[in-house]
């Protein structure tokens, strides 16, 4: 009568019932969850998130220790060894100027991780703040912020980024600023929509009855309930930022060769896609792995922060 899956559920339930009745005498008083117990719970329940966190840590470590890990320099050309395939001397091969690709990947991780994470955090902070303020206070402030967001969104993002880069000039910090200024608007719109929804809920009304001021309301009720959305947005925006940086670099607006970033490497390898696919493939896989790691970690964080998942 029962399918295999269903039989398993019934059996597991019987087992857990026995365990429960054995432990029912223990005091049931709970404890408040601290940050550490929460992380421990995530480690227990979501192995993938833990694995992802380790991968991200390893990438960061490799980026920091790049000079120790590789004998080559990321900028020294070796024109005798152009486009050589992976070998024991050059694990991932060399590029069109004979530079070791592994070395460039390690150094590129510094730029790419930073351009992935820092401007995304900046744009999320800016967007969330403006979105919440817009939703909570309404009126002319709401109009002003939302029109600004509309204008930002109306421009093609690449064009906007180019304009801002032209005005600010080259440099890593300016790349960060540019990416943050391009991406804040969508975050602000989404957070505002959610704020308006939350504003109508009874628990926000209850807080008003108690006399909670609007500023406190934002941090106690609105932002915590926006958190799952923000985490998803973060995992979506990190790869977007890495790729936008590469496009900017490609257009000669971001970092300039010979400095290395993953996006730049993918782009410059494109011309040799048939002759030497490892030029684009290696940085491409690096981007993919780190983006996936951020995604899984984000999912894990979202679940562990969700009270409905707590037993």
């Amino acid at each position: 009568m029962l399918s295999n899956r269903e039989r398993k559920i019934v059996e597991r339930f019987e087992k857990s019932r026995k365990i429960q009745s054995a432990g029912s005498l223990r005091s049931q008083i709970g404890e408040e969850e601290t940050f550490f117990t929460m992380m421990r719970r995530m480690a227990r329940e979501n192995k993938l998130a833990v694995f992802s966190a380790i991968v991200i840590l390893l990438i960061i470590l490799a980026a920091i220790l790049a000079p120790v890990l590789t004998p080559y320099s990321y900028s020294d050309m070796d024109l005798m060894n152009r486009l050589s395939p992976p070998s024991s001397a050059h694990l991932f091969g060399t590029d069109e100027a004979g530079r070791d690709i592994l070395t460039r990947l390690l150094y590129g991780a510094r730029v790419s991780l930073l351009t992935g994470v820092v401007p995304t955090i900046m744009s999320m902070l800016l967007g969330a703040l403006l979105g919440v303020v817009s939703g909570i206070y309404g009126g002319w402030l709401d109009d002003l912020i939302m029109r600004l967001a509309d204008i930002t969104l109306a421009f093609p993002s690449m064009l906007l980024a180019m304009v801002i880069m032209y005005m600010l000039g080259d440099g890593l910090i300016n790349v960060f600023l540019t990416l943050a200024l391009v991406n804040w608007a969508s975050v602000a719109r989404i957070v505002r929509a959610q704020t308006l929804q939350l504003k109508k809920t009874e628990f926000v009304e209850a807080a008003r009855v108690i006399g909670v001021r609007r500023g406190k309301m934002i941090f106690r009720h609105i932002l915590p309930n926006c958190l799952p959305t923000l985490i998803v947005l973060f995992t979506l925006n990190v790869p977007a930022a890495i790729l936008t940086e590469s496009s900017l670099s490609f257009l000669g607006l971001g970092l300039q060769p010979p400095s290395a970033s993953w996006g730049l490497m993918v782009n410059s390898g494109r011309q040799y896609l048939y002759a030497a696919p490892w030029l684009s493939l290696a940085p491409g896989i690096a981007i993919m792995v780190s983006v996936l790691a951020f995604n899984f970690l984000g999912d894990g964080l979202r679940d562990v922060l969700d009270p409905y998942q707590k037993k």
Binding site: M1, R5, I9, V10, R17
Partner: protein, 325 residues
Amino acid sequence: MADNTLEIRNLNTSFFTQHGEVRAVNDVSLDVRRAQITGIVGESGCGKSMTARSVMGLVRYPGRIVSGRIRLDGKEITGLSKKEMCSLRGNELSMIFQEPMSSLNPVMKVGKQVEETLRIHQHVTKEEAARRTEEIFREVGISDARSRMACYPHQLSGGLRQRVMIAMAMICKPKLLIADEPTTALDVTVEAQILSLMKRLCEGGTSILLISHNLGVIAQVCDYVYVMYAGRIVEQADTCTLFDHPVHPYTRALLGAASSLRSGAARLETIPGGVPNLLHLPSGCSFSPRCEKCARQCQNEVPQMLPVSGEGHLARCYFANVPEE
């Protein structure tokens, strides 16, 4: 058996969740007699809605009917394919829900929605469908039927929306109408109107299965009542017998709670404890942890439905026939 429109025998519906098996409907047998209103009463989560959904074939994953037989007008419907169930629903078998707004398409005129139901199941022309829709609108007491047919759901009041839902359910002249808390979302004066409409439909020959948590609703319109608790039927009797001589301790407690509101007593009657978790049902009678009469056998074995003096009166209690001291 021609005098029963619906027969359910030993129905079990379970949800296989990650926490274990939730036995939403537990060995339920019930009959809906022709041209009568049969009621199921119980608290939220007692399985009364799931019984209805099982009949309609609307149990969603991870739930399914594990065992049991459902017969509509003598015809077995448990083994039917999805397609066959679809042609049955809305045609021979209809259901109305608590919240009429969420059951209606907000961007379609209500007249069109009712016509569509008819045209799905019966080959009629557009004109014929419109004519019959207008007719059924009048029948369910919608004044000014023709202009109401051109309204969108949000333009109608809650009571009118529920009448539209009833019209939609009745347009194909179903053998059985299941009403799941049809008046809970309505105002007091409108509730009374809808209930008298249901009584009229029943007098017209429709068999109705009425599900409600409100003993007042049940007492007003039902001919025969089933009381459910934690997935099981605990008592069944015709309405007057049930309200006059309840024997199951749960039925007594429920009736006591409802009537103590009117007694003028300072403290209202309640039932100690809470409804059991369907994941961890007590091993014996599910009401035993809250029952003052609870004996050892109540804790060990689930009692069967025992006949009580009085025709068609059954109760799932070992003490059903022990006279009150």
